[in-house]
Amino acid sequence: MKIMVAVKRVVDYAVKIRIKPDKSGVETQNVKMSMNPFCEIALEEALKIKESGLAKEVIAVTMGPSNCVDTLRTGLAMGADRGIHVEAARDLVPLSVAKVLKKLVEVENPGLLILGKQAIDDDCNQTGQMIAALLGWPQGTFASKVVLDKEKQVATVDREVDGGLETLCLDLPAVITTDLRLNQPRYATLPNIMKAKSKPIKKYTPEELNVKIKSDLEVVQVTEPPKRKAGVILSSVDELIDKLKNEAHVI
């Protein structure tokens, strides 16, 4: 069975982001970029499944401009077997990503499609659900535990939901999106980095896949949330009562 994992190149989680002066978006020039943390977890899960003998190949997929190949290289260094890069302009919306993924799935025929639950730059949490609907596949989102049964061709997924944990049984092929507690991604070791240099990366364009990339959304403005105002230290209970009465009007 093949496993396909979609990974996204985003601003590194630990970076303090800044808004561009023209308020059109977040500053990404000269800022450290890395693989989306949830995508790392997705890839780690795929690698674990492969190591347990239930899959024979892990394919990492990414979409975007040419610098996205860095993320694919990271994926290959972690242990993916090959990579696919779909060249496109920046900022693909989840629906476009899902449509491209659908075409790739038709080409590669994986038994499992694993994605991160959301990307940390747009926090959409939509791609996994959309691709499952487009393919007509079952979906197990916010997975915190995944167990595969090869003979029965089912995946048992524990989902993290508001009320606790929900366990679902999905027939393969299926879509799984990963949540934080699923696993701890491995480090890229030097021998693997060396091997990654010779692993193949196939390039596609959306035209080759017969997908029209159009966005129905337009970002109007990006602004920072209002800064927290400093508190005031009061010196007595009387002053507190006075402020609550006359300034805050709560008593």
Binding site: A14, K32, Y187, I193
Partner: protein, 537 residues
Amino acid sequence: MEKWRATTNLRRSLKSILNRQLKFRYLNGKRSCQSSFNLIRDCKSLGQVNAIQHRCFSSASTLVQRNPSFSTLNSDDISYFKGLLGEKSVIQDEDRLETVNTDWMHKYKGSSKLLLLPRSTEEVAQILRYCNSRCLAVVPQGGNTGLVGGSVPVFDEVIVNVSSMNNIISFDKVSGILVCEAGCILENLISFLDNQGFIMPLDLGAKGSCQIGGNVSTNAGGLRLVRYGSLHGNVLGLEAVLANGDVLDMLGTLRKDNTGYDLKHLFIGSEGSLGIVTKVSILTPPKLSSVNIAFLACNDYSSCQKLLMEAKRKLGEILSAFEFLDTEAMNLVLHQLDGVRNPLPASMHNFYILIETTGSDESYNREKLEAFLLSSMEGGLISDGVLAQDINQASSFWRIREGVPEALMKAGAVYKYDLSLPVEKMYDLVDDMRIRLGDLATVVGYGHLGDGNLHLNVSAPEYDDKILEQIEPYVYEWTSKHRGSISAEHGLGLMKANKIYYSKSTETVQTMASIKKLLDPNGILNPYKVLPHSLNS
């Protein structure tokens, strides 16, 4: 000789004994280590922090007596200070005094009765002028993270803590020159500079608590010295207050200024014994966007050395840190700290090296680092390694290296040594100590290999004189034989006050004593520390 007096004191209240423990032993000049040690262990239940040993003093040669020429505090002094600083800045509360009297390692405890919190240079000057006239001993204090007992009183010295002086005065975005008060916490300065696109030229594990005044006064080294050099190069100016209250304004912001003797260098590294630093002007390097970090394993120490040579040659200008830890250090960290995982779990290797590169071009630097690592691997210098893929992974590597001191504290008693040695010989000392100590204790070696700085730590479940005998003076003599420094970056403080001759000649030390006498004739600034006690008279 004085054992009967020991037992008399033991009958008094436990609390006052805890405070007088050190004082008593100094006064009577006899080592009653065993009995008082057991007493301190029993006092653990007195609400002291668990699992941390309160330790009594090291070898007999460092016993010191309270200098009788220092006055004792009286109520007039307290009134004066209250009038000068206001009630809030004059602390006599026992609980707060408890904290400031004890050092970070809980190894040294003084018995000061007064903590002062000045908010400006003028207040510091007036405090010192008064103390000088009254002959009251003073301990300058900042973040209290020093490791040689230099930041806490030995007896009842007045503690002058500059934590309230924590303003950033100015920052020049073009030149990167930062002017700030001595009480600014290093981590806060790093965050401030981060927003401006700059970084501090020094970085240490203690950054969350240590203050820049203390860093400058101790000439702190840290993790980035191999790239940015020492504070002697980065500090452009400082303002210090002398013992008699005179304010020396040397707060220049010029890169070049050859007018007269450059006195600021006296204050950098003199550990508060020549003056209290109140403001610092420091040159900060720009923050470069591409930081890469690798965690590597080597089989033996000679590979580590060769790796260092190769790194300096091949990585050249982008190398920003080169640290090492041995397998015992790694074990300790994995055992004692939470949330730390071994990046190279396949097997326990003998040595671990952490290499960090900082540059401006991400892809170029990454390629350079990868090429260097792969060629080192092919050449057999590294047996395994990982490259951090994002900032989180990078922080986890640093957590391992920066967490070693913390892990050592948690493991029980620790004897800490900080030595500068020729790189080829560095690990021989660790091996020698292992042979000497055998099963008595675990010897851990780690440090700034890039600077030739070894942090030799001996970890044991409890403090024991048998262990100490095997360590001192052997370690100092070994270092001296190889013309190394017995204190690479920690300073002398109280711990090594009498050990300076292992690394400096008699004439040099005499000249130091003359300078001390010139700038502080009454000897009130941080007494009993830095220079040998025999020179104070």
